[in-house]
């Protein structure tokens, strides 16, 4: 079934006020364009879950979309603090729930597998377990020893950006895979954005590369440069300068509001955002090609 639609339609149909949203991607493939569209459509009271909230949730929280954040590392990766989320937590303006990376991803993995919990070994660190009741212990019936267990995370909607997908939503990803697959399978609905929409024959020429199958996808949106200022392996580089600039800019509430107005609210869609960044930025983020050695599946 052809699931192609505009990002506006996808967000209008599949992201509701109050939803638990998981925008996937660890550093790589973060779907900023979808975050911006959610801001434009004025969603409220979202619970925003991500291992690393990154700038995408800083921006969405600045825009007032969220009432809660679930995370395992609250930083501006490679730069320092994530000022807006941090301030919201420090001031008590927002609820939060926190994990370590592995326990966070283990929750998604349990959700993806349809399991009521997943185990992880004890870490001896006592305090996270004390402040989050989603860490429980179970006795291993084989050894009598305790393990930690965490419950599944089932986002209402997962947002996943990929390099290429067909119109039905069979999606291929390379480079850092993060928790893309787990988030998609764990969620009730999946919005997929892709740098390229390709014919299904391209996907079918390399089925082992398919990370997300059509089956679990609700909307497929063609959104080139969706991940900026994050990146897409093989398509464009991470805009490290932007991550540094945001660190400065986000010191001032006024500047953040100005930026949101100019780069999100006053912008029609992501294509316009990308044009607005300008030629110098486009050039700076360009990369040279480096292709994989092809493999032979054989005709059978």
């Amino acid at each position: 079934m052809n699931k192609l639609c505009s990002l506006q339609e996808a967000v209008a149909s599949y992201v509701q006020d109050g939803d638990l949203v998981y925008a996937a991607g660890f550093t790589h493939l973060i779907p900023f364009a979808v975050g911006h569209e959610i801001i434009r459509q004025g969603r409220r009271n979202l619970t925003l879950a991500r291992a690393t909230p990154d700038l995408i949730y800083d921006q969405m929280i600045a825009a007032g979309c969220a009432q809660k954040v679930i995370f395992s590392y609250l930083g501006n990766p490679g730069v320092g603090s994530l000022r807006i989320v941090r301030a919201a937590i420090e001031s008590g303006a927002i609820e939060w729930e926190e994990y370590s990376h592995y326990s966070m991803i283990t929750r998604l993995t349990a959700g993806a597998a349809g399991l009521p919990f997943m185990p992880m070994n004890l870490t001896a660190a006592p305090d996270l377990e004390k402040i989050n009741p989603n860490f429980q212990r179970v006795v291993d019936p084989f050894t009598g020893k305790e393990v930690m267990v965490v419950p599944p995370l089932h986002p209402d909607v997962a947002i996943v950006h990929v390099q290429r997908a067909d119109a039905e939503g069979n999606a291929q990803i390379w480079g850092i895979l993060g928790e893309q697959k787990e988030a998609a399978f764990a969620a009730q609905k999946v919005i997929l954005t892709a740098e390229e929409i390709v014919d299904e024959t391209v996907i079918r020429s390399d089925p082992n590369r398919t990370v997300i199958p059509s089956l679990i996808v609700d909307a497929v949106c063609h959104v080139p440069y969706c991940a900026h200022p994050s990146y897409t392996q093989g398509y464009y580089d991470r805009d490290n300068d932007f991550y540094l600039q945001w660190d400065e800019l986000s010191k001032s509430k006024e500047n953040v509001e100005k930026w949101l107005q100019e780069f999100v609210l006053d912008v029609k869609d992501h294509a316009q955002y990308w044009r607005k960044l300008g030629e110098a930025t486009h050039q700076r983020l360009k990369i040279k090609d480096k292709f994989s050695t092809p493999i032979n599946y054989g005709e059978f």
């Binding site: 790589h28 480079g175 928790e179």
Partner: protein, 255 residues
């Protein structure tokens, strides 16, 4: 040869690099740990395998990675896997020799706080949180901590124990049944401190030009000293050249 033109930061990086052994698998963070590992790989440990929590194995970064998920880590790596896999198949399974950790606070028993200063529910300062460090501290065969040396960073007891050092002493960690042997050394820009038989940190080596009193002045409790304190060798010109010319030519982490 050694012109003593090196920073405190470089002392920390060079000394951390020297703790790594050839052929080991290291779970690396960006910033100074990344510099230390790449320095080791270009000097005494060419067969060091670098693994990043983003799921990259055997990275050979062509440029300085500016985030834990930098694309330069992927291009030319020997394998990429999911985040769940890097933490389970590698770290939890016991395949990681060395983990690097940092944190806002490190205490007397090497416990690490990366979560909050003050009360958890009403934090004075909200820090980034665990990331992968709770698991690295627990499950890597051994860990090293890199951090600048100042009193705020070395309180007697952490406000929040994000990652386990030796808890209230080595016996408590051992009783917990956790697989890794825990922190083996804290490398600062002043000294190297190692846990004693009880898991309590003691100064074992001072960097060139540093006096024991400097360490005492910058540590939040009465730090013990080893029976004999050694002095670390100065960074060689070779080490400094690799750091400045090959690894961080723009001085992003060195300065």
């Amino acid at each position: 040869m050694n012109e003593r033109i090196y920073s405190k930061n470089e002392l920390m990086i060079v000394n951390a690099a020297r703790l790594l052994q050839d052929g080991e698998l290291v779970f690396v963070g960006v910033g100074t740990p990344n510099l230390a590992c790449n320095l080791a790989r270009r000097t005494h440990a060419p067969n060091l395998t670098m693994v990043y929590e983003a799921g990259v194995i055997g990275a050979q970064p062509a440029r300085l990675p500016l985030s834990i998920g930098d694309p330069t880590l992927v291009s030319g790596a020997s394998a990429v896997c999911s985040m769940y896999e890097i933490f389970s198949l590698y770290l939890q399974r016991g395949n990681v020799d060395v983990g690097f950790l940092g944190g806002a606070q490190i205490d007397r028993f090497c416990n690490i706080n990366a979560t909050v200063i003050g009360d958890y529910r009403h934090p004075k300062v909200r820090l980034p949180g665990s990331g992968g460090s709770m698991e690295i501290a627990a499950w890597a065969n051994r860990c090293y901590i890199m951090t600048p040396h100042d009193k705020r960073r070395f309180p007697e007891k952490v406000d929040f124990c994000t990652s386990a050092g030796f808890l209230s002493g080595r016996a408590e960690r051992e009783k917990s049944g956790v697989r890794g042997r825990g922190p083996q050394a804290v490398v600062t820009d002043l000294a190297i401190m190692m846990p004693d038989e009880n898991g309590e940190l003691q100064v074992t080596a001072l960097h060139p030009g540093v006096e024991l009193q400097d360490v005492r002045d910058n540590t939040g409790w009465e730090i013990k000293t080893a029976t004999s304190i050694t002095r670390t060798a100065e960074p060689t010109s070779g080490e400094l050249r690799i750091l400045h010319e090959e690894l961080d030519p723009s001085g992003i982490y060195l300065n």
